[in-house]
């Protein structure tokens, strides 16, 4: 083979070999400028930051905030997204809240409306236990120092009777009466004695109370312990646990358990199904619970000593103290034609007075964006 032909062949071979090589497309990650639009179109970091940086000084300049010597408390309402974009609207509020916290120098405070709720509830619940113990100690001391005990020349005999529930269902405060009883007995140093639980013979006074929920309706729980007790009893008696819908009309309303033959009939099975399905009814109601302790004269049933104390306060998120509500909306208007899309975006923020529902302040940021989509994939 001639040299020239060899050269041509080897060059061709090299070209063929190298044209088959390719650098594979590898992913690359890097930090880019926060405000740069790496991908055009839509709502991005630039909009989030621009909105926050326009609204923050505008809010701080409001006379109600700038000239006020006291702290302004603001509750945040979730931002509404009325645009065509799938946006995490929380990020607008978070960024604005960050800037306001940073630059208001303590003049503005927010409520933790979503974060740390479980931890907070746990802490408050733990604190309640100490509070109840301290309250019962205090009441026992007051009763022992009261006129009824100090003026009595003889030993006083008290009996305990179950606490009356005013509007609480499935719950009772008998354990507190039992605790109070032992504290009174301890502090009285023999001046006050109690009869055996369940007996009221020859008692001078009765120790009882009223268990009250700060609510205009009945509050309570479907007590699992009571339910299990009923079920266990039926199992021992060989009765069925099936639930059947009563076909005959009944005159009673509400849930009633009627044991007929071997089945349990319920007048309102829908309600029962709701009870079974609803987790709220198995959880302790979040209402302020009070105990009105009563010492009653056994003869004439007159209350001679009465003390109301709060067992547990309703756990609130604190927003009742808010001076203003911060809310907002993302609205957009879109036009499409032959693969071209134009979006007009209007992002607004408002401050609303909770009592009057007036919009005290409102501002907006508007931007228009154009993008092109491939015709094939429309």
């Amino acid at each position: 083979m001639s040299c020239k032909l060899m050269l041509i062949l080897s060059t061709s071979a090299l070209v063929v070999i190298f044209s088959g090589c390719s650098t594979p497309q590898v992913s690359s990650h890097g930090i880019v400028d926060i405000d740069s639009e790496v991908i055009e179109g839509g709502i991005g970091s630039n909009e989030v930051r621009t909105v926050a940086q326009k609204m923050c000084p505008a809010i701080l300049s409001l006379p109600d905030i700038a000239n006020s010597n006291s702290v302004t408390r603001i509750a945040i309402s979730p931002m509404k997204n009325s645009s065509r974009f799938i946006v995490n609207t929380n990020i607008f509020m978070k960024k604005l809240r960050l800037d306001l916290n940073r630059y208001s120098k303590g003049k503005i405070r927010f409520f933790s409306q979503n974060n740390a709720r479980k931890t907070r509830h746990r802490i408050l619940k733990n604190r309640r236990e100490n509070h109840v113990e301290a309250s019962l100690n205090d009441i026992a001391k007051q009763f022992v120092q009261s006129y009824i005990v100090t003026s009595s020349k003889k030993q006083l005999r008290l009996a305990t009777i179950p606490v009356l529930s005013t509007n609480l269902v499935g719950m009772n405060a008998d354990s507190m009466i039992a605790t109070l009883r032992s504290k009174i007995a301890g502090k009285s140093k023999g001046k006050v004695v109690f009869t055996m639980p369940g007996t009221v013979n020859k008692a001078d006074y009765l120790l009882t109370g009223q268990f009250i929920a700060d609510s205009i309706k009945k509050e309570g729980i479907v007590n699992l312990v009571d339910y299990i007790k009923v079920m266990n009893k039926r199992i021992k008696e060989g009765k069925s646990l099936e639930v059947y819908e009563r076909t005959a009309a009944t005159k009673n309303s509400g849930v009633q358990i009627n044991l007929v033959n071997k089945e349990i009939f319920l007048h309102k099975p829908e309600l029962f199904r709701q009870i079974q399905a609803s987790a709220n009814l198995r959880a302790e109601p979040n209402v302020t619970k009070k105990l009105n302790l009563l010492v009653v004269n056994a003869k004439d049933k007159l209350v001679v000593f009465e003390k109301l104390f709060v067992i547990e306060k309703k756990i609130t998120d604190g927003t009742a103290k808010s001076n203003l509500i911060l809310s907002g909306e993302i609205t957009s208007m879109t036009k499409k034609q032959s693969g071209k899309i134009a979006d007009y975006l209007l992002i607004t923020m408002q401050l609303i007075a909770p009592e009057s529902n007036e919009v005290l302040w409102e501002d907006g940021y508007e931007v228009k964006k154009a993008s092109v989509t491939g015709i094939v994939y429309q």
Binding site: D33, N46, S61, Y103, S104
Partner: protein, 156 residues
Amino acid sequence: MKNKLLFFIMLTLISLCGCKSTYNLEPESASDLAAEGSVVVVRPDRYVLFGTRSAADYLRITYCNMTQNAGGLPEIKLGIKNVSGNHWWDMGSEDFTIYVQAVFYKEPLKGQSTRSAPIFKTNKQAVFIKRGKTQDLSFISPVKGAGGYQIIISED
């Protein structure tokens, strides 16, 4: 051959002595800092032989001042005009987007050969300017006490 090898080794050793693990950064020239104005445009991505790629050639300031708003916060008001297409070698005028960032300082900047840390810096805000039109921009700092400012304009 032996001499050449020795020479090569010595040259290598001398070169290695010049290697350091760290190098000092030179400070910006005081005269350059002092010459910077209140409104600056970042340098173009590259310089070309003919024409210009700098946005400074397409933009003019119509007004620029700093006042206090009703809440006592410093506010910069800036007017920028698109004057593109004003050269014989560049007659085509364009609408374009620029990014504007405002930086607030405690002291006025003019003539200052040193800089202190800014008291507040806005983000880069996108501004679309139509050819021949003036855009009116406003930047408010949530931090009080600004005595000086600088506006930085870039293409991205």
